[in-house]
């Protein structure tokens, strides 16, 4: 039995450690480090893919990490996005071609993979930091004032969220004497206390920063706007998803056994529902008024986090029912779709910034003529994000809304639907600018081959999953049933 996961971890760690050495030996020219990292990530993707589709139940490193299918799905998504980011960086980071950049990317990927499989709070925290620390540096990689500001802001907020998580872990350990997630949950259930409730809510806040849940979202637009756009892609489409797997592993596990408070009003389902409503609404309304593309995408990303939370509501409202399974399936499915769609949109924005040197929305006037492939990718991604059928985003939103459509949280379903319709206001607005408005010029702008390749794969995924969702749904559904038991 070959242990795919060990190979993956060794490969990624090796890449992280040795790629920066290329700089030392002055071999960092011509994107060599980038090509190596892309190869490593592609291998890792294939290995995790094998592992996810043909799971083995060999426990790995004792009880710190248990490779299950749910973790596999998240590892696939995050490594896939990192691969796309690495490939896009061939052109985007050409001027500052830097092996350190790719080394840091490798460490982030490693952190996300480990986080996806973590079954222990300490392992989870260590992976969390392994994932986060390199991104603080990467966000400031441009050596411009804006980029550095973004980096500092992100690092301070990130450190704060780490502190909150660590405090929650310490409370959990103090109450239950274990850092094993299953033991913590069982301990909370057998000895309910107010402190357990506090710890749970601290987890919500700590993970909420990464998941970009309102009111923990303030850093998102500034960081996404200031960071190099490829890194914004990584933050929005990959590390954010890592926040969701952490929340599923810890928070949803707690809600299956333990009603956090005795009050019928202050239940976890209600907490999630209010957060989901706030997140969707604030995200969409703010997105409508943005003047720069990266900020618009940042707010749209916040709004999408709100949709993903709907599944959490359905799950914690009635764990063990079919609606709960439906909800969690919808959440995980939307995580996958959102990673692809938001990744495509951010990379399209990155290419526009690279070629036109502009990030304001005016740069998108008449883009359909100037950069037809980029504009088409952006249009498909936007329609998918708005939930227009038959694109992939439609199905995951459908399942999410379905999970709460008939029950005490019907109002949340209505809010999600109205938010979707409302969000088309800015998505269609950009599509209108690209295809209907006249641009300042109609001359074709070069679209590099690597970007075109990524765009083709991502559009293929958005449309392909949209038309034939059964395979992906099967995978997600199996992963979710494997997790809930």
């Amino acid at each position: 039995m070959i242990d795919y996961l060990t190979i993956t971890v060794v490969l990624l760690a090796g890449a992280g450690l040795f790629l920066p050495l290329l700089q030392v030996f002055r071999m960092g020219k011509r994107n060599l480090a980038g090509y190596i990292l892309a190869l490593v990530l592609a291998t890792a993707l294939a290995l995790i893919g094998l592992f996810t589709f043909y799971p083995s139940s060999v426990p790995w490193a004792g009880s710190l990490i248990i490779p299950d299918q749910l973790g596999g799905v998240f590892a696939l998504v995050t490594v896939g996005v990192t691969l796309a980011v690495a490939v896009a960086s061939f052109d985007f980071q050409k001027s500052t071609s830097n092996p350190v950049y790719y080394g840091l990317l490798a460490f982030t990927a490693l952190g996300m993979v480990l986080l996806a499989y973590s079954q222990d709070l300490l392992m989870l925290f260590v992976s969390w930091e392994l994932m986060s620390l390199p991104t603080y540096v990467l966000a400031g990689f441009d050596k411009k004032l804006r980029s550095n500001e973004a980096s500092v802001k992100y690092a301070i907020i990130g450190a704060m969220s780490s502190a909150v998580i660590l405090y929650a872990i310490s409370l959990a350990y103090g109450l239950t004497g274990s850092t094993q997630i299953s033991a913590v949950v069982a301990g909370f259930a057998s000895h309910p206390s107010a402190l357990a409730g506090v710890a749970t809510l601290l987890f919500v806040a700590g993970f909420g920063f990464k998941m970009s849940i309102v009111p923990f979202h303030m850093w998102i637009p500034d960081a996404y706007e200031g960071a190099p756009t490829t890194i914004s892609t990584l933050l929005a489409a990959a590390t954010k998803k890592a926040g969701f797997i952490a929340a599923i592993r810890v928070l949803l596990a707690i809600t299956t056994l333990y009603a956090v408070t005795k009050s019928p009003l202050f239940t976890m389902a209600n907490v999630f529902a209010v957060l989901a409503l706030l997140t969707m609404t604030v995200g969409n309304i703010s997105a409508l008024t943005q003047k720069s593309m990266t900020r618009l995408l940042a707010y749209s990303s916040i709004a999408q986090a709100g949709y993903i939370l709907i599944g959490f509501v359905a799950f914690s409202n009635a764990p063990g029912t079919s609606a709960a399974t439906l909800g969690l399936t919808g959440s995980v499915f939307h995580v996958i779709n959102h990673a692809v769609m938001k990744g495509a949109a951010f990379l399209a924005a990155a290419l526009v910034l690279l070629q036109l040197k502009r990030a304001d929305l005016g740069a998108y006037d008449g883009l359909g003529k100037r950069m037809p492939i980029t504009a088409f990718t952006l249009a498909v991604a936007f329609l998918g994000l708005a939930g227009v059928p038959p694109l992939s985003g439609f199905w995951s939103k459908l399942i999410l809304v379905l999970s709460v459509a008939n029950g005490p949280f019907g109002w949340l379903a209505l809010a999600a639907i109205l938010n979707s319709a409302f969000s088309l206001g800015y998505y269609a607005w950009i599509i209108k600018r690209m295809y209907i408005d006249e641009g300042e010029s109609t001359a074709r702008v070069k679209e590099p081959l690597w970007f075109v390749l990524i765009f083709a794969i991502m559009v293929g995924l958005i449309v392909g999953i949209g038309l034939f969702p059964q395979q992906v749904i099967n995978l997600v559904s199996n992963a979710v049933t494997g997790y809930t038991g």
Partner: protein, 496 residues
């Protein structure tokens, strides 16, 4: 298992990119390819229509069914499920026919971005066929939404001066309406004892009283919003005049002739067909709303100076008849209401289609659509004037045009529902009034000297004959539509 309906949907969808490439290469080639393809689709649609006519399926059953499992996991199941009956087959045929006529009419009226234009027409046609043949609610919704995308670009790219505003207003209005409709479907699905999205399965559950009427109220309200925006019903109609005024004339034909039918079809197939208990309880409200729409559309049309805007309000007036007739059947039990509504949708598509296309020609030749500025068409453009008079006669329901029969049936059903509904007789009077006034001002007025305008050629006259001749033929051969429509009406009337 038959593949005809899938072919009807897939052929235009698959053809769209090829049409794009062909038209980019050579414009003439593209137009001829489009024309040929649309004629093929029309022949298939004609075959479907004939199949349904020659062996009308009994109520609640569907011809040419296709059913495959599309998605299924845990408690969720979704089928790719198509079928047709006496309600959808006339609409399928008239949509395919109008697509051919629109392509013929577009040759002169569309002069930029032709490649995108013709490929989007096929995207639109394929989606429309999907809407009318889907027997699964989610599949129905998917096609319903795909229709929006080509329409958005039609209005936004080829429209008039305020096209961008109109396109945004159109897409946000209709998308909001249809997502609410989807939520209604999902609520209904989750509440059912054995959940299914398949229309025949749900109707079987209804007949065995397994769905409590309490479950039907919210979905009825939600679907009402979705369909009322499309129909459009006053006060959900404000996107329509904007969209029509800005859309190019061939697209107005599709908008009025095909897109609005989606609303009427939805009301009959889904609001009445799936939520019959709740529909019957609130039938009075729907009846009143339909009546109000009829009057509002007619009076608003009277006030318009823009010929095209006037025709747009005529559509609101005519589609009010559809809702009025459909719900009159629920109250009175007279099958004439639903039969008349189906017939009305068919005749309205052709009559108003011809008028919209005509308004495009008039603007193209005379340079304006303002009724007060169009003077002496009778002498300057005699052939156009004749077609305008005939089209107006068809739209106002003057015999021998079969629109007369359709409106007559609807009004009879209305009167049998309530004596007060007899007030609906006044609507055709107002309609006749504004059309005749329009004709008096344009056709019968004195021409102003110094205006050199070209009349339409005989080939265009022939194209317009395709709109109007079926309307005359159908008053004699109305059984073509009414025979298959009868079991549908009887079935819907009998649902508990």
């Amino acid at each position: 298992m038959s593949y005809v309906l899938s072919l009807l949907i897939a052929l235009p969808l698959v053809a769209a990119p090829f049409v794009y490439l062909a038209t980019r290469g050579d414009k003439r080639l593209g137009v001829y390819l489009s024309l040929g393809l649309s004629v093929v689709v029309m022949l298939i649609a004609g075959y479907v229509f004939w199949q349904v006519y020659s062996s009308p399926p009994p109520g609640g059953q569907y011809l040419l069914q296709e059913k495959y499992s599309w998605i299924s996991f845990s408690s969720f199941g979704l089928n790719y499920f198509l079928g047709t009956d006496g309600l959808s087959s006339p609409l399928i045929f008239v949509s395919a026919l109008l697509t051919v006529l629109v392509i013929i009419g577009s040759r002169k009226l569309i002069d930029h971005h032709e490649a995108e234009y013709y490929s989007l027409i096929f995207l639109f046609e394929g989606a429309i066929m999907g809407v009318f043949t889907s027997l699964n609610l989610i599949l129905f919704y998917i096609f319903w939404e795909i229709v929006l995308i080509p329409m958005f670009f039609f209005i936004g790219v080829w429209g008039g001066p305020r096209r961008k505003y109109a396109a945004m207003k159109f897409i946000i209005f209709t998308f909001a309406g249809s997502t609410i409709m989807l939520l209604g479907f999902l609520y209904f699905y989750m509440g059912m004892p054995s959940p299914s999205f398949d229309i025949p399965t749900i109707q079987a559950l209804l007949q065995t009283h397994q769905i409590p009427v309490g479950l039907e109220y919210l979905p009825l309200l939600a679907s009402f919003i979705g369909f009322a925006v499309k129909l459009p019903l006053v006060p959900f109609h404000t996107w329509l005049p904007d969209a029509h005024v800005e859309a190019p004339s061939p697209i107005s034909v599709l908008l009025a002739g095909v897109l609005l039918k989606m609303g009427g079809y939805g009301f009959i197939r889904i609001s009445i067909g799936l939520f019959p208990g709740a529909s019957a309880q609130y039938a009075w409200i729907f009846l009143a709303l339909g009546l109000f729409s009829m009057f509002y559309g007619a009076v608003a049309a009277l006030l318009q100076k823009d010929l095209k805007k006037m025709i747009a309000f005529t559509s609101i007036n005519h589609m009010g008849f559809v809702l009025f007739g459909a719900y009159a059947t629920l109250i009175s039990g007279s099958v004439l209401g639903i039969e008349g509504a189906i017939f009305q949708m068919f005749t309205h598509a052709l009559a108003v289609g011809s008028l919209f296309m005509l308004s495009g020609y008039i603007q193209h030749q005379a340079g304006t659509r303002e009724i007060p500025l169009l003077k002496g068409l009778g002498t300057t453009m005699p052939r156009t004037a004749v077609i305008l008079v005939l089209g107006a006669a068809a739209a106002m329901g003057l015999p021998p045009f079969s629109s007369f029969l359709a409106e007559f049936m609807v009004i009879v059903a209305g009167i049998s529902a309530s004596a007060y509904a007899a007030i609906s007789v006044l609507v055709p009077v107002i309609t006749a009034g504004y059309f005749l006034w329009m004709i008096k001002r344009t056709v019968l007025s004195q021409a102003e000297a110094g205006h050199e305008v070209h009349d339409m050629g005989w080939s265009d006259v022939a194209a317009f004959a395709v709109y109007l001749v079926p309307l005359i033929v159908l008053i004699v051969t109305s059984y073509l539509i009414l025979t298959p429509a009868l079991p549908v009406a009887q079935f819907l009337r009998g649902l508990p």
